[in-house]
Amino acid sequence: MSLKLGVPSKGRLMEDTFAWFAERGVALSRNGNAREYAGAVDGADGVELVLLSAGEIPRELAAGRIHLGVTGSDLVRERLADWETEVLALAPMGFGHADLIIAVPAAWADVESLDDLDAVAAAFRARHGFRLRIATKYHRLVREFLREQGVADYQLVDSQGATEGTVKNLTAEAVADITSSGETLRANHLKILDGALIHQSQATLFAARAADWGNGRAARLAALAAQLGLPPPRL
């Protein structure tokens, strides 16, 4: 029986994934029609390609509907409670690097660290009557990080896109978002807080613990791992 491999369905992440597998002798390709979300696998027996939105791959892995999946480690940690019990990280793939950070207005000359953020958040609440707002789509990761750091006087506001603009629009005082070059942050007059690197994300090949590994699929996975130059997976 074949293994289902979930890969992001478009853009840079898809191209880099295809290139990563190609370097290891496995040719992934989309079917002729670029609008059709199906593909082919050459060079590895019994592997079936499934093209999916990168954001849905964590959920599909957790449900065991795909055996393997490529997505950002940030998405897996954010979307899956106790992610290590749901998936096994087989290989960091060395692309799609992005840091999840907390950023505040660059004009806040008095705020460099989380100590400062904690103090400013308390003063902000006393002055404005509500908690300092941090805009993010990474609710779980940000909340767990700030809890560990003992920062309390804040609230998260949901922002699914254009997060860096929320401060200028007065819907948040700070943001927690992914950045690679920091250019968007600078363009929106924000700066990264010292000591507030929440997660260093990169594209990662995951295996689903809940998937059906019977009917010879576990052996296929071992063979694929060997071909990709990875240690034998222990699901």
């Binding site: 207005p105 008095d110 003063a123 908690r131 003992g150 998260l156 200028k168 007065l170």
Partner: protein, 357 residues
């Protein structure tokens, strides 16, 4: 695990005992407006409560506890003094896989009374102790107000004392602040320049104002100019936080510490009265552990006497817990306040420990 029926039956028995002790039974809605809970507990409650919404009332939470609605009801139209009791389910979302129940019964008793706070503390604890006597539990008490008095007595800037008081329920941040005040780290180059008077100009965005920043910079300069917290004071606090002994021994330890930390003397005198009131109600103090740091790192509203009853089984959460929350009544009372103390028992755990099916 006890069945829901067994938990409810045990809860009903506890509720009857609370009523017999003079409490009026109150009800609370299961759907609570999220705003008051978020304002009180902060963002963390969003992870621990089930959050829902409707188009007219906005964000709502499935009742994570009874304290807030009971205090709100009392502040709106309560008698003075008053005793309340309640029984119902509370709902706690779990962020991680665990055997912890997402919904369980709580039976609670709350005393709103200005007359004699130590007597009210003893009343609640002794009542719980009596009701839980049949199951083997370990009782621990503490006093967050005593720790707060010790911080208020520190010979340092008011701003530093305020920051320590604000973080007292978050031990990691509290200790980090204390360490920084005792041995200020070398400032970064940019921080040193800021302290020296340089304020780099940058395009201003956001609601926080330049005046807010100016006030903080003034506070940073004042802090940088102030002497560090004396090593002796830091060591005194460490000794205070480490006190953990059977209550009579702890009282002796704390009395001895008064020489070093005079600010705790009134709170130690109150502890003496509280322990005497407990003994008068038949509590065996030798079997109660006083733990100075008890209750830190849990709920942010206890600001005085705190207690818990725990089973020997480490997999179980506390069977009962509670404490004094005087400041909460003023937060929820729109300017009015009343000393209040109370606690909850989890009847499901009691039924478990009694071996009920």
């Amino acid at each position: 695990m006890a069945t829901k029926a067994a938990a409810r039956a045990t809860g009903t028995r506890l509720l009857a005992a609370f009523r017999a002790a003079g409490a009026v039974e109150v009800e609370a809605d299961i759907l609570q407006p999220a705003e008051a809970l978020l304002d009180l507990y902060g963002e963390d409650i969003r992870a621990r409560a089930y959050v829902t919404a409707d188009p007219l009332r906005g964000e709502l939470m499935l009742r994570p506890d009874f304290t807030v609605p009971v205090v709100q009801a009392h502040m709106a139209h309560g008698a003075d003094p008053a005793r309340y009791c309640y029984l119902g389910e509370v709902f706690r979302a779990q962020e991680h896989r665990s055997a912890r129940a997402p919904e369980y019964f709580q039976a609670g008793y709350e005393a709103f009374d200005r007359a004699d706070p130590e007597a009210a503390d003893a009343e609640v604890f002794a009542l719980f102790s009596r009701l839980l006597a049949a199951v083997q539990l370990h009782a621990a008490i503490g006093d967050i107000g005593l720790l707060m008095d010790a911080v208020r007595g520190l010979d340092t800037l008011p701003a530093r004392r305020a920051a320590l008081l604000r973080t007292i329920w978050r031990p990691a941040r509290f200790q980090a602040l204390l360490a920084r005040y005792a041995a200020p780290p070398t400032p970064s180059t940019s921080r040193a320049a800021l302290l020296a008077g340089a304020v780099p100009r940058a395009h201003w965005v956001g609601l926080r104002s330049a005046a807010d920043m100016a006030a903080r910079i003034a506070a940073l300069r004042e802090d940088a100019a102030a002497p560090p917290l004396a090593a002796a004071e830091v060591a005194g606090l460490a000794r205070l936080f480490a006190v953990s002994a059977p209550a009579p021994q702890a009282l002796a330890d704390l009395t001895a510490l008064c020489a070093e930390i005079p600010a705790i003397a009134p709170a130690v005198a109150r502890l003496d009265r509280r322990l005497a009131a407990l003994a008068a109600r038949g509590v065996d103090l030798a079997r109660v552990t006083y733990q100075a740091s008890h209750g830190l790192g849990t709920m942010e509203y206890y600001d005085g006497f705190v207690f818990s009853f725990t089973a020997a089984r480490p997999d179980l959460p506390p069977v009962a817990s509670g404490g004094r929350y005087d400041a909460l009544t003023s937060v929820l009372g729109a300017g009015r306040s009343i000393p209040a103390v109370g606690g909850v028992i989890r009847p499901g755990l009691v039924a478990d420990l009694e071996g009920q099916p």
